[in-house]
Symmetry: C2
Subunit: 321 residues, 2 copies
């Protein structure tokens, strides 16, 4: 796409997404953002053939690019506010799809309350790639890192684990599951659900927190390492969706299968630790917010992750990996 | 590259670049930046085979990714301070080059006074791509956009125009020029020079400003359109480097050749407008700063760009375009 085409496409489809005056209507080369106090800032890119399947709908590709970043913001106890986007658009992908891409962004801006600040579109001889830098407003006085877990803390996780892996399998290998289960895991892979209603609870109570993007157990290891503690997870308490449970039931070796689910990527749930004294208030807050939350383990002295007989981390099942 | 390799490489090579505590040593999923007042924010990506040549040195690829963004910050009268980076690393490019990439970033962090805040590295089946989001501190009370040019203003440009195009030609077609001239234009293509010493002058005096990345005349058209004015440029006043002048002298059709230089991309000079009453103070400030600056035209009523008999904009000579 030539720069002239780019300029016209941005003006037409992206300018309406830039509702904050800070974005200067996208006709300038930079945004001018007046930030009061601290901002939580994260940047993640998704690449065709790595983080999404080439024939995923263009709308959900846009949504996934935003959601993986919003998930990071939520895990830090913050609310997404603004984002910049650099889009690498393949020469051989019809530019008519740009409208659908913008529609996906527009839908998620509504859902998650963030607006486009700026960015850049360029052509590429390679795969479609979308890089997003997301800004969030902290919802509490603390912004939990990976490094704050204390011995004695509970370990919590939102939602269900393993659907991301199963969604990828459904799209690449096929899954022998009932159609509603297949639809569920594909939707979870394509459009993960950032647990925005949990962000204030994380800000108020979490000692350490991160989002689960590279597999629950491997990500738990990152908290254990950063916090210099050992994390003990009961693999049988890790929540599965109905689809995940049905898939597990059908596997010849359930221990191996459970290990795959707990080490699969693309779940975008929130994994956090908190003192047991906060347990009642955490459950009350998440019940009010309607976010499914499960206590799956505890923090002890030592290092590493103990998940019974399951392997921890290692090879994350990814497209093209 | 697996996520484990990525984590190890980031820790080893990128963590030393993250000197601001806001970056949390890159071991967290987000940065926590305390911003006082307004921030100028821009995001630009560069892609192998589009914005740089596949066998460009890995150090200069890293530097170019930073510099094209710093150039945008400078054009807004601001000083670069922090950046996030998402790196798409091809599966078939040796990961040993990551050290050189980080070395290029480190060198430019020193030169331009900015530090790494965070980001993400992912593998890609496609070309190397580097997306940078850069934050700057405004150096004056105003942050000029493209839209502020007034009838009667002077039009100014820094440095020399056309070297980016000639550098690309040298790398892709070869150039029949003396070796020092070839070296000059190749260096200008690979490592453009953001005019940081001009940023305070832009903040103090510019009515409209942008950096020249897509060709001088086409970029002047963007200011004319945003400001609803006509920009008259004397093409014979547009500064060329010695290399550019030597190349022009050797061309059979000099009007066509001059048009190519003035519409070539990748110059990363600053194009700005300012009231004639500021002329003496602008020249004094840029003379003090040692930035070459040339008055090349004026703003009049109307629309579009008048560059004598030269074409304006259109096809920008780019790799793969």
């Amino acid at each position: 796409m030539s720069d002239g085409d780019e300029f016209a496409l941005i003006a037409k489809h992206f300018a309406p997404l830039a509702r904050d005056p800070a974005a200067r209507g996208l006709i300038d080369d930079a945004a001018l953002l007046n930030m009061q106090g601290a901002a939580v800032i994260t940047a993640d890119a998704i690449v065709e053939g790595v983080h999404f399947v080439p024939d995923d709908p263009i709308e959900t590709i846009a949504q996934k690019a935003l959601r993986v970043n919003i998930s990071d913001i939520v895990a830090k106890g913050a609310a997404s506010a603004h984002y910049l986007l650099t889009l690498q658009w393949p020469k051989n992908r019809p530019s008519t799809e740009i409208a659908g891409f913008a529609a996906g962004l527009a839908r998620d801006q509504e859902t998650f309350g963030c607006t486009l600040l700026g960015g850049d579109t360029t052509s590429t001889p390679g795969p479609l790639a979308v890089s997003v830098t997301m800004f969030g407003r902290p919802l509490g006085v603390s912004t939990p890192s990976r490094a704050g877990a204390n011995v004695g803390d509970d370990v919590w996780v939102t939602g269900a684990i393993g659907d991301g892996l199963l969604g990828l399998k459904a799209l690449t290998e096929g899954l022998a599951l009932a159609a509603p289960h297949v639809a569920h895991v594909v939707a979870r892979y394509r459009t993960p659900t950032p647990r925005v209603a949990l962000a204030a609870t994380v800000a108020a109570f979490a000692s350490a927190s991160m989002d689960v993007s590279d597999g629950l157990l491997g990500d738990a290891m990152k908290i254990a390492t950063a916090s210099a503690v050992r994390i003990v997870i009961d693999p049988y308490r890790v929540p599965l969706s109905d689809a995940g449970a049905a898939w597990l039931d059908a596997q010849p070796n359930r221990a191996v299968a459970r290990g795959a689910l707990l080490n699969g990527g693309d779940d975008y749930e929130i994994l956090f630790t908190a003192a047991p004294s906060k347990r009642a208030r955490i459950l009350e807050a998440t019940d009010d917010a309607g976010v499914p939350l499960t206590r799956i383990g505890s923090v002890v002295a030592g290092q590493g992750v103990d998940a019974g007989d399951l392997p921890v981390g290692g090879h994350v099942h990814r497209l093209g990996a």
